[in-house]
């Protein structure tokens, strides 16, 4: 089934903590898993992505953990900053080269 489930819908963490955003999927043919962030009044922009040959991808404070067996992937934001407050979307690419999007997580970082 072509669906990507994302949780939680909203998340509030204190500055300096690690924020963890979760996604899961069912279609084993998905082959690319990006995360996008969207700041208020702006459009979504690519943040970081992973292919299923890897189980971890890091870029600074942002890390994707990927579990192919369980069909789950998560975004960890370490040492979270108020400027990280945004809506985060996970997605998965299908065999038609189209992205299937999660429903988004609104992340608020409290100073």
């Amino acid at each position: 089934q072509q669906q990507v489930r994302q949780s939680p819908q909203s998340l509030t963490v204190w500055e300096g903590e690690t924020a963890i955003l979760n996604c899961s999927y069912e279609d084993s043919t998905f082959d690319y898993f990006p995360w996008y962030h969207q700041f208020p009044g702006e459009s979504p922009a690519l943040l970081i992505a992973i292919r299923p040959v890897s189980n971890k991808k890091e870029d600074g404070r942002f890390t994707i953990f990927f579990n192919k067996r369980e069909k789950k992937f998560s975004l960890h934001i370490a040492d979270s900053q108020p400027g990280d407050s945004a809506t985060y979307f996970c997605a998965a690419r299908d065999s038609n080269y189209q992205l299937i999007w999660g429903s988004g997580t609104k992340l608020i970082i409290k100073p």
């Binding site: 690319y32 990006p34 996008y36 702006e42 459009s43 979504p44 922009a45 690519l46 992505a49 979307f89 997605a91 690419r93 038609n96 080269y97 189209q98 992205l99 999007w101 429903s103 988004g104």
Partner: protein, 112 residues
């Protein structure tokens, strides 16, 4: 590289009128996507072109929505007989590498 260009940025139409939204993808990008975003529904896929050919329009409301890509430098989304529930931000995106999608700034459509 000016990115994906969408015009107009804001459009107000009366109920029942037609609205045409324009998108200029990034030069050289082979895929163009249209999405609609609202607070309630979130990010909704509408339609997708690859090399100007329509690939998937499964998200398009069939009766009043249509999209075209007459050449590689622009795509249009047309909404006939606009209704208040069509009010949303319409996002156009393009990509060269499947999965790495670049979004335009969007057109905010308000139907009054």
């Amino acid at each position: 590289n000016a990115g994906v260009i969408q015009t107009p940025r804001h459009k107000v139409t009366g109920k029942g009128q037609e609205a045409t939204l324009w998108c200029e993808p990034i030069s050289g990008h082979s895929a163009v996507f249209w999405y609609r975003q609202t607070i309630v529904q979130g990010l909704e896929f509408l339609t997708y072109f690859r090399n100007q050919a329509p690939i998937d329009d499964s998200g398009m409301p069939k009766e009043r929505f249509s999209a075209q890509m007459p050449n590689q430098s622009h795509s249009t989304l047309k909404i006939q007989s606009t209704q208040p529930q069509d009010s949303a931000v319409y996002l156009c995106a393009s990509s060269l590498d499947p999965g790495k999608v670049f979004f335009g700034k969007g057109t905010r459509l308000t139907v009054v």
